[in-house]
């Protein structure tokens, strides 16, 4: 747990500092040279567990075998053994009349066969879906065992970049509502997402290139917020720009290195 813990505590400290500086900044609004953006990192939670490692599987098998050897017989198994005894005794000798009174209608063996047939009829949903095979990065059905994040293509300055959806902060609203607005602009209003907490998870600041830089506009700071996608039904969402759902490992394909470094700090990938 060391890796996720360290950024967590560091984040806590830096978010406290952010709170102080934001309060100070709001009072001196005119002289601040930084433009603020609120970005939303929308996560789709994993739907199935990750496959076990080799050592984990070996340990699990060993423990199962140990437990099986140490455990007692269950009711069903005792019943089955008794009935097998009865059958065996019937075949060897003729004690039918004495034991016929305790004869049950359904034998334990029959029950087992019935359960087996039922189990064979059950078909589990596939773990690797079609979207996985076709590597369709736009669908939500891909990679059911890891977190999926929303990336959107946005125009910053004169470049088209892949980013987490962000929108500029307007004075008078909280940064969290900025992030929610960002989500709403890209995905429409009917998104059931749960924002976690009022504090941002990370910050990325960059200075504008010298050509655009002025006294009042040194650079921009982007504050990241996290939200969980509650429903996986995005049919109502009107996606205006290019979008992708990617895992943490695939982020490197799309994001710039500095940006990626800051984003990776707050992403938990277990």
């Amino acid at each position: 747990m060391a890796a996720p813990l360290a950024p967590g505590s560091a984040r806590w400290v830096c978010s406290a500092r952010w709170v102080c500086s934001a309060r100070w900044a709001c009072s001196a609004a005119a002289e601040r040279p930084w433009r603020l953006f609120g970005a939303m990192c929308l996560l789709r939670l994993p739907r199935i567990t990750q496959p076990l490692e080799k050592e984990e599987e070996e340990v699990a098998a060993l423990m199962e075998q140990l437990e099986l050897e140490k455990s007692h017989y269950s009711d069903h198994e005792i019943r089955k053994l008794e009935e097998e005894e009865q059958l065996r005794r019937k075949k060897e000798s003729l004690y039918d009349e004495d034991e016929a009174r305790g004869q049950t209608v359904i034998m334990a063996q029959d029950l087992e066969e019935k359960w087996e047939q039922k189990f064979l009829r059950f078909k589990a949903a596939p773990r690797i879906t079609d979207a996985d095979k076709s590597n369709d990065r736009k669908s939500l059905n891909r990679k059911l065992d890891s977190n999926l994040m929303l990336l959107v293509k946005q125009k910053i300055g004169n470049q088209e970049l892949w980013l987490l959806p962000q929108v500029e902060w307007q004075p008078g609203e909280t940064l969290r509502s900025t992030a929610e607005r960002a989500m709403a602009t890209f995905l429409g209003d009917h998104i059931q997402a749960k924002v976690l907490g009022n504090a941002p998870y990370g910050i990325y600041k960059y200075k504008f290139p010298r050509a655009i830089r002025t006294e009042n506009n040194v650079g921009a700071k982007v504050f990241f917020f996290k939200a969980y996608l509650q429903s996986s039904d995005l049919s109502q969402a009107e996606l205006k720009a290019d979008y992708l759902w990617v895992t943490k490992k695939e982020l490197g394909d799309y994001l710039k290195s500095e940006y990626l470094k800051k984003v990776n700090r707050f992403l938990l990938d277990l």
Partner: protein
């Protein structure tokens, strides 16, 4: 007299107690020197501990409830959550189990003779109670617990209320009737 008794090798052999007339009578006594112990009262009524309300930056009492059909899974997960909170120095008030609920599932097949296949499902619930979770850390903790959640375990985090406390106690209808009659 005493010498004769010791030679006879009787039951009085292992007896070193001095008689009352001896000067060393009562030589080993010490209980009268200890402070007086208050006799313990038999069964104290289970009092509800104060439920702290959170301030703006801290949550009060929070219950993390884990439910599942599988006992081992839910118990191990509750242990994991408890130890995680210990490591993250979050104060854990108590960690208890709610009574298990048993459900019988009956299938009514209507092919020929009406058969009833039974299945017995037991639902187990474990609760870990936490106090003093700061609002900046709460989403991180929630994320860690959610990403480590095993399959088949439902997770619920909610504020602790009096109703939650009362649900752990059994109601005594006869006592309530008598009390109603008295008042």
């Amino acid at each position: 007299m005493f010498a004769l008794l010791s030679f006879s090798g009787d039951a009085l052999l292992g007896c070193h107690r001095s008689y009352r007339s001896r000067p060393t009578h009562g030589i080993g006594r010490f209980k009268y020197l200890l402070p007086k112990e208050v006799p313990k009262r038999k069964k104290e009524k289970v009092q509800m501990k104060e439920i702290s309300e959170g301030t703006e930056y801290q949550y009060g009492d929070i219950n993390i409830q884990m439910t599942s059909y599988d006992v081992c899974l839910v118990e191990h997960f509750a242990q994991y959550v408890h130890r995680l909170c210990n490591r993250l120095s979050i104060r854990v008030n108590e960690s208890y189990a709610m009574p298990t609920k048993t459900n019988e599932v009956l299938f009514l097949e209507e092919r020929g003779s009406k058969m009833q296949l039974d299945a017995v499902l037991t639902t187990h619930q474990r609760v870990v109670q936490i106090r003093g979770l700061s609002s900046t850390f709460a989403p991180i903790l929630l994320e860690i617990i959610q990403s480590n959640q095993p399959e088949g375990v439902h997770l619920l985090m909610k504020q602790h209320t009096e109703a939650d406390f009362k649900s752990r106690l059994k109601s005594r209808p006869e006592l309530e009737e008598l009390l109603a009659e008295m008042s």
